[in-house]
């Protein structure tokens, strides 16, 4: 029984992480899947969201902290919203400068900003607590859930051990529910926005910018909208991560975990398909976790093992694309679904 509880708790933790990635993949799908915007700095917007939310909703600096700013302790929904807004503002700034230029500039700018943000997180301790990381970020409704469980268990001392340990982890179920609700809401929002004349213009821009301009579309304006919307969603993912992990440090926003894997997820699941983005997140995160077990059996140093995992995931991606070149789900033939029925 204890083993089963252990597996269940692992699955829970796994699903929450994959769910956060699903949100990131949805954001990238707006940018790359629909509009063809090459954002290789996903980690940057993710980090902006995470730190914004932590500063808005987290506790004020403690005696041992280096930071002197933020920690206003506002309710989670405000931190969550702020994460989206600040990520959107950063995207607006970058997009405003680069989106009119050739497409390579956006790619360079996004990777550049992600790197700059990483360095800020590491070095600007007054804001981010630097390498010590931000601690004690509150999880929404953690106290009520936890005290409820404690009271419940105190009243029933005769419960079997496995049930007690299951109930002690009850908060994760609550958080998974919250996350699922957010993913569902975002899915419907994004699906509604994209499967429309607006999304049709985005796809046209992805296909041929010059021809889209000849059809009277303000290419730069549409690209900017898609870039900002996608980045805002990535910011929300950051908030969802921060309030579950409760601790933020710079390693979580390295390009490998913050950008590379998200790309693999979207491309494997099916760029241009929102269901594909979510499916890809769960599938690839599962495979990624699998490679951890696999390399664990090999006599390798950590650095080598993690390099091998990247290779393995790359091979898997190639395998998926060989069988299904457009990803597992691929995109729908008709963009807009508003003219049918």
């Amino acid at each position: 029984m204890d083993v089963l509880v252990g597996i269940l708790n692992y699955l829970l933790f796994f699903s929450i992480t994959a769910g956060v990635y699903a949100v990131l993949a949805l954001g990238l799908n707006v940018q790359w899947g629909y509009t063809g915007l090459f954002n290789i700095g996903v980690a940057g917007f993710y980090a902006v969201g995470a730190y914004t939310s932590a500063l808005v909703s987290g506790p004020p600096p403690g005696a041992l902290d280096w930071r002197v700013f933020g920690g206003w302790g506002l309710p989670f929904p405000m931190g969550f919203a702020a994460a989206g807004v600040v990520a959107a503002l950063v995207a607006l700034l970058i997009g405003w400068i680069t989106i009119r230029l050739k497409e390579d500039y956006l790619a360079i700018a996004t990777i550049g900003i992600a790197e700059v943000l990483r360095l800020i997180i590491k070095n600007e301790a007054w804001l981010t607590n630097g390498v010590w990381g931000l601690k004690n970020i509150p999880s929404p409704w953690f106290q009520p859930v936890q005290s409820g469980v404690t009271a419940f268990l105190a009243a029933r001392p005769q419960l079997p051990g496995w049930l007690v340990s299951l109930l002690k982890g009850a908060y994760s179920w609550v958080y998974l529910g919250l996350l699922a609700a957010v993913i569902l809401a975002l899915y419907f929002l994004v699906e509604r926005a994209l499967r429309s004349p607006w999304g049709r213009v985005l796809r046209a821009i992805r296909e041929d910018e010059v021809a889209a301009a000849a059809q009277g579309k303000n290419v730069a304006a549409f690209k900017l909208q898609a870039f900002v919307l996608g980045s805002a969603i990535m910011g929300l993912a950051g908030s969802l991560y921060a309030h579950y992990a409760r601790y933020l440090s710079v390693e979580k926003f390295e390009p490998l975990y913050g950008t590379f894997i998200v790309w693999v997820m979207l491309v494997a699941g099916g760029a241009g398909n929102n269901k594909g983005a979510i499916l890809g997140a769960f599938l690839i995160w599962g495979l990624w976790a699998g490679t951890d077990f696999l390399t664990g059996y090999l006599p390798l140093s950590d650095v080598r093992a993690s390099a091998l995992r990247v290779v393995l995931i790359g091979v898997l991606l190639v395998g998926i694309l060989l069988v299904r070149p457009r990803g597992i789900l691929g995109e729908e033939k008709f963009v807009s679904r508003l003219f049918k029925g």
Partner: protein, 255 residues
């Protein structure tokens, strides 16, 4: 309707268009002919804002539009098709057309989210119009096909169909007949004439098919080496010795 004054465009050492002046009068089907490399397509690119001229001025409906961006010119009623078709390959033929009309309420991000009913209504109208246009150019059976799967000639027809969706005041057609099956040519000519006379669209078209030009266009403008060589009624242009000379050695005989 359209006036071009002293327009020049240079690529490296080559003047693709050189001190070119011409006008297109409202209600006409004006032809633009000339040997390969005469600068016709380049001139179209300049008129529609895809290239900025090195010199000269373009006036459209009395307004100086030199150097304006293509999407702005679209909304002023100026539409162009491409010599090498530029359909959106991963979109259906139907949506290639539904995309075109300007100022769709569904193109504003919040409308599909907050007022889907309004967008839906607009989409149904667009659908009907697109279906009519597809009938008109004979592509109706391919409505649901991805545009990338069309043949070369079908893609040219799709270009024309998009022009019909745009409902411009002036349309620039870059070789609408190239690659189109000869038996379809007569139909194509009839379609273009209908566009001009039935829908009141002024047409300015480049074409190498002399039959099409001679029985459709009046006046005909002849370009050679980036300059306007002459202009006049088709019968007059056809017999102009300078025109014959410009084409000599080229692959097109002026019949």
């Amino acid at each position: 309707m359209l006036a071009i004054e002293g327009v020049s465009k240079r690529f490296g050492g080559l003047w693709a268009v050189r001190d070119c002046s011409l006008t297109v009068e409202q209600g006409t089907i004006t032809g633009l002919i000339g040997p390969n490399g005469a600068g016709k397509t380049t001139l179209f690119h300049i008129i529609t804002g895809f290239y900025r001229p090195d010199r000269g001025r373009i006036t459209f409906r009395g307004e100086d539009v030199t150097g304006q961006s293509p999407f702005r010119l679209f909304h002023k009623g100026l539409y162009r098709t491409f010599q090498i078709p530029r359909a959106f390959p991963e979109m259906t033929v139907l949506e290639n057309l539904m995309l075109v009309p300007g100022n769709q309420c569904g193109e504003l991000l919040w409308n599909p989210i907050f007022c889907p009913r309004r967008v839906r209504k607009e989409e149904r109208l667009l659908l009907r119009r697109a279906q009519e246009v597809l009938e008109f150019v004979g592509l109706a059976p391919l409505a649901g096909a991805l545009a990338g799967t069309l043949s070369g000639g079908q893609k040219k027809l799709l270009e024309l169909a998009r022009a019909l969706m745009a409902q411009p005041k002036l349309v620039l057609l870059d070789e609408p007949g190239a690659g189109v099956n000869p038996t379809l040519m007569n139909k194509l000519a009839a379609r273009i004439r209908q566009l001009a006379q039935g829908f009141g669209v002024t047409v300015f078209l480049i074409e190498h098919d002399m039959d099409l030009v001679m029985n459709l266009c009046d006046p005909v403008i002849v370009m050679s080496e980036g300059r306007v060589l002459t202009q006049g009624a088709p019968a007059q242009v056809r017999t102009d010795p300078r025109v014959i000379e410009a084409y000599l050695g080229g692959q097109y005989a002026v019949a």
